[in-house]
């Protein structure tokens, strides 16, 4: 590979950090939401389901603007978090992670929900008759059996975060070293003449990271299946 400029390296490192934090931090919420949608019946469920899917269909710039309004330094939640906990999202990499997490959330929830729905409820019932309370049933039966979908959901969210552009740039702008990810670096390179080589370099890096993530998840899922299905009867 040709040598990367310091700004390009910073963008790559930042993209990895933002995508990892976005995927890992949203995973518990994704699992909880997926379980709620897969296993519970309650009024307003259809509305909640639609809200979760909203980032998938809204223009990303709308999501970014909404984040700016709510989590910006003047926003209701943003001001509260900054004052009480010293957590700030505006124009910081944490804001990029938040924006990516929200954009990837529907994909994550979909994958995990499908895998929770495919867990045989009769096994959960059997666990309950063996004295397991609902938490233990979830932790020892539902979660391990839904594991492939959870890995897939995490990887999807990671890959989506890597490619996120619109909401991120709207919310936290494009500041080299702080909020400039691979996507926004490519965008900036496109604004200047003679940036083609840099664009290619960054694009290849994006392809390589995404491929690695997908291969890694495939490997994890296979390993789990292998352990379980060893010598399956026909």
């Amino acid at each position: 590979m040709p040598d990367f400029s310091p700004a390009e390296l910073a963008a790559i490192a930042l993209s990895l950090k933002v995508a990892s934090v976005a995927a890992l931090a949203s995973l518990p919420f994704g699992i909880a939401m997926a379980w709620l949608l897969a296993r519970k019946r309650f009024p307003g469920k259809a509305l909640l389901d639609a809200l979760v899917h909203l980032p998938l269909v809204l223009p990303p710039v709308v999501v970014g603007y909404a984040l700016l309004v709510v989590f910006g330094s003047q926003g209701a939640v943003g001001a509260f978090l900054a004052e009480r906990f010293g957590i700030s999202f505006a124009f910081r990499w944490t804001g990029a992670a938040l924006a990516s997490a929200i954009m990837g959330f529907p994909l994550m929830v979909r994958a995990i929900r499908l895998s929770i729905e495919s867990v045989d409820r009769r096994l959960e019932q059997a666990a309950a008759t063996l004295g397991a309370n609902p938490w233990r049933v979830f932790a020892t039966v539902t979660l391990p059996l839904a594991w492939p979908g959870i890995v897939a959901g995490g990887v999807l969210a990671f890959a989506k975060a890597l490619g996120e552009f619109g909401a991120t740039i709207t919310f936290v702008s494009n500041i080299p070293g702080e909020t400039q990810t691979i996507s926004s670096a490519i965008y900036e390179l496109m604004q200047v003449p003679g940036g083609e080589l840099g664009i290619w370099r960054m694009a290849l890096v994006a392809v390589a990271i995404s491929l690695l993530a997908l291969l890694a998840s495939e490997w994890l899922v296979r390993r789990q299946h292998g352990r379980r299905g060893e010598g399956d009867e026909p």
Partner: protein, 206 residues
């Protein structure tokens, strides 16, 4: 001893089921669709009767008049399902020990070694559940239910998924369980032969 008197909803109909029997091992028989499995599910806490009362040795599991409805995990009802329902992500030992956190008031009554010997499954302990034959899977399921220290055992046609030879293989184990664990049992079946060889009393649902 099991004593129950419940109203169950079955589609648009309602039916009453009463079982008061001093016999320890009761067979529940009747045509398919009569609601035998629903009765077991109601006892285990997997479906809620419309109203009524379910007691095991004087302990109320469900009593609509007194507002009692214990959740399934607190009923101490061992349930052996038609289809074994072993956990596919655990090996045989993991399945057997799954209910070990269930606490019995008087300390554990059934220990792993004794249950394994009773059911003849010591050679299977390290096996994956996918490799078990139907009869082996049912023996593991019975052991798993016993090790959760139940106060009552339910059997839902445990032989129906097996061929004749496997049935003959499993029946002696069921007889041993019946004779050695001394728990109240409710055994659903539609095989008169099975019922004759296992149960002390017969209750018919129509």
């Amino acid at each position: 001893m099991l004593s129950l008197d419940i109203q169950l909803r079955r589609g648009r109909f309602e039916r009453e089921v009463r079982i008061e029997d001093s016999a320890r091992v009761v067979a529940l028989v009747g045509p398919s669709g009569a609601g035998k499995t629903t009765v077991l599910n109601a006892i285990a806490g997997l479906v809620r009767p419309r109203s009524g009362r379910i007691e095991v040795d004087g302990r109320a599991l469900f009593d609509s008049a007194r507002g009692i409805d214990l959740p399934a995990h607190r009923r101490r009802v061992g349930y052996v399902f038609q289809d074994a329902r072993l956990f596919p992500h655990l090996d045989v030992r993991g399945n057997l020990l799954y209910g070990r956190h269930a606490v019995a008031e008087a300390g554990p009554r059934f220990e792993l070694d004794a249950v394994v010997a009773l059911l003849g499954i010591s050679a299977l302990l390290q096996r994956r559940t996918a490799n078990l034959s139907g009869g082996e899977a049912q023996r593991v399921a019975i052991g798993r239910a016993l090790l959760a220290q139940p106060a009552l055992l339910l059997f839902d046609e445990p032989l129906s998924a097996l061929d004749q030879a496997r049935r003959e293989e499993l029946i002696p184990y069921l007889q041993r369980v019946r004779d050695e664990v001394r728990l109240p049992m409710l055994y659903v079946s539609h095989h008169p032969d099975e019922v004759r060889r296992l149960a002390e009393a017969v209750h018919r649902l129509d």
